[in-house]
C-alpha cells in the first residue's frame, strides 16, 4: 500500500471496531470473520482515530506520547495502518 498522506483522515469503517477481550485480557480489532489481537502500540494507534483527526495529527500525538521522533513514528504507523487498509479494515477520508 502507498504511504498515508499527511492530511488524510484514517478511520475504522462500519463493521470494524475495537473491543476489550476480557477473557484473554487484551484488546482486539473485530472485523468480518476476523479477530486481530492488538499489542499496546496497535491499540494506542487505533485509539487515536476519531474520524476527524488527520494522519499528521495522529502521528504528532503518538510521537509525544511515546517520546519518539515523528518521522519514525510516521513510518511505523503508516506501515501498521497500511496492512489494515489492504485488508479493508481501515479507510481514508
Amino acid at each position: 500500500m502507498s504511504p498515508i498522506p499527511a492530511d488524510s483522515i484514517p478511520y475504522l469503517p462500519r463493521g470494524v471496531r475495537l473491543h476489550r477481550d476480557h477473557v484473554r485480557a487484551r484488546w482486539v480489532l473485530l472485523a468480518p470473520e476476523r479477530t486481530i489481537a492488538l499489542d499496546e502500540i496497535g491499540h494506542a494507534i487505533l485509539s487515536e482515530l476519531d474520524g476527524a483527526r488527520p494522519f499528521a495529527d495522529v502521528v504528532a500525538r503518538l510521537a509525544a506520547k511515546f517520546d519518539a521522533p515523528a518521522p519514525q513514528i510516521a513510518d511505523d504507523v503508516s506501515g501498521f495502518l497500511g496492512t489494515l487498509r489492504a485488508r479493508r479494515f481501515l479507510e481514508l477520508a
Binding site: 469503517p13 463493521g15 477481550d21 470473520e33 479477530t35 489492504a86
Partner: protein
C-alpha cells in the same frame, strides 16, 4: 495442553428456509419449528458464550430471517458484547426489517448467491424470483451502509460464473467475497454426481482467484475454499476440533461443527440441560478429537498435524468408515487415490438430477 476458550460461535437459529439449495450443510434430518429454542434461551446462550470467550457470533440457519424474533436476538447478542454477523439468503428481509436490524446493532451481513443470473440462481435455490429479491436486498444493504460479504458456493454447474460473481461483489460495494467450492456434507452428499467439479475446473477456479487477489488488492478481499476432493492436503477443520469454535443447532444441541452429528458414536449435550462452559470443557463429544492422542498413522508422526489436525473427521468417516482416520483428501492417506477416483467419476456423470433440500 489446556483447552483454550472458544472464539466463534455459529447459531443455527432455525432449519426453516424458503430456498432448497442442493448443497445445504444442514443435516438430512431437519429440526422442525416446534423443536427450536425460544428467544430467551438463545439470548442466555449469547451471554454464556461471551463470558466463555466467544467474540464473534454468526447467526445462521436455514434462513435466520425465518425467525420472527431476529431483531430481538441481534439486540441480545450485541448487549452480550458479541460481534454479530447475519448469514442470510436475503429472503424474508424487508427494508424496514433491515433498518431495525441496523438499529439493533447488527455488525455485518453475509449474503449468499446461488448464481450470478436469475436463471441459475433460481434453479439452484429452487425458487422463482429469488434472485430479483436478493438484488433488491443488496441495494438496501448498501443504502443503510451495512458492511457486506458476498458468499458464492461454486460447483460444476455454476463454476463458470466466478468472474461475474467477483464483479458483482464490487458493484454491490462488498468489501469481501467468500468463494467456496462445494463441500460434501449434509445435502451435498446426495448430489455429488450433479455438483462435483472436474479437476480442470477446480484448477481454473484456483487460478482465477489467485489472479483476482492480485488485481483487486485493497479493494476486495477474497476468501477461497478449494475443491477438496481434488486437493492433496486437507483443510483445517474448524481450526481444530473443539479448539476455537462451536455450533448450536436449532434445538439447542451443541456441536463442534455442523456435520458432527454424522459421527454416530458421539454424544452431544443440549444447552437446555447443561451450561455452554460444561459442554465446551467437559463433554465427551468435544473432547473426542482434541489434541492428538486419538490420531492414527500417518497423521500421528506427521509434522503437519499441528497445522491441519489431520483434516475433517466427518469426511474421514464418510469416505473411510473411520472418523479417526486421516482425512482422505491428504495425499498420505491410504484412501486418497480412492477419493480422487470417486471425484473423477462424480465429475464425469452426465445428466445427474439435482436432489433439492427439503423443508423443515
Amino acid at each position: 495442553m489446556p483447552v483454550p476458550p472458544p472464539i466463534a460461535m455459529l447459531a443455527e437459529l432455525t432449519h426453516r428456509c424458503p430456498l432448497s439449495c442442493p448443497y445445504c450443510s444442514n443435516p438430512l434430518e431437519l429440526a422442525a419449528k416446534a423443536q427450536e429454542l425460544p428467544t430467551q434461551t438463545w439470548i442466555d446462550a449469547f451471554d454464556q458464550a461471551a463470558a466463555l470467550g466467544v467474540l464473534q457470533l454468526h447467526l445462521s440457519g436455514g434462513e435466520p430471517a425465518a425467525r420472527q424474533d431476529l431483531v430481538e436476538l441481534v439486540a441480545g447478542a450485541r448487549a452480550a458484547g458479541l460481534y454479530t454477523n447475519l448469514i442470510t439468503s436475503g429472503l424474508g428481509l424487508t427494508q424496514a426489517r433491515l433498518e431495525a436490524l441496523s438499529e439493533a446493532g447488527l455488525d455485518h451481513i453475509q449474503l449468499s448467491l446461488q448464481g450470478t443470473d436469475a436463471e441459475m440462481a433460481d434453479r439452484i435455490g429452487g425458487m422463482k424470483g429469488a434472485f430479483a429479491r436478493k438484488m433488491k436486498l443488496a441495494q438496501w444493504v448498501s443504502e443503510i451502509g451495512f458492511p457486506l460479504t458476498l458468499n458464492v458456493v461454486l460447483h460444476r454447474q455454476n463454476l463458470h460464473q466466478l468472474p461475474r460473481a467477483l464483479e458483482m461483489a464490487q458493484e454491490m460495494g462488498a468489501r469481501r467475497i467468500e468463494v467456496a467450492t462445494v463441500q460434501f456434507h449434509g445435502w451435498a452428499m446426495q448430489n455429488r454426481n450433479a455438483l462435483m467439479p472436474s479437476k480442470a475446473q477446480a484448477d481454473e477456479a484456483a487460478a482465477l482467484v489467485a489472479q483476482a487477489r492480485q488485481n483487486l488488492k485493497g479493494r476486495l478481499v477474497i476468501d477461497f475454499v478449494p475443491a477438496d476432493y481434488h486437493e492433496d492436503y486437507p483443510k483445517r477443520c474448524m481450526g481444530g476440533w473443539g479448539s476455537s469454535g462451536l455450533n448450536i443447532a436449532p434445538d439447542g444441541t451443541v456441536l463442534p461443527c455442523h456435520a458432527a452429528q454424522t459421527i454416530p458414536h458421539l454424544r452431544f449435550p443440549n444447552l437446555r440441560e447443561q451450561s455452554l462452559s460444561e459442554i465446551w470443557y467437559h463433554s465427551s463429544g468435544f473432547n473426542a478429537y482434541r489434541g492428538d492422542d486419538w490420531m492414527q498413522e500417518p497423521c500421528r508422526s506427521c509434522a503437519l498435524k499441528t497445522k491441519d489436525f489431520g483434516g475433517c473427521r466427518c469426511q474421514a468417516l464418510a469416505i473411510t468408515g473411520d472418523a479417526a482416520a486421516t482425512d482422505p483428501t491428504c495425499i498420505k492417506s491410504p484412501a486418497h487415490q480412492k477419493l480422487q477416483a470417486m471425484a473423477d467419476q462424480f465429475a464425469g456423470t452426465e445428466h445427474a438430477p439435482l436432489v433439492m433440500r427439503e423443508n423443515a
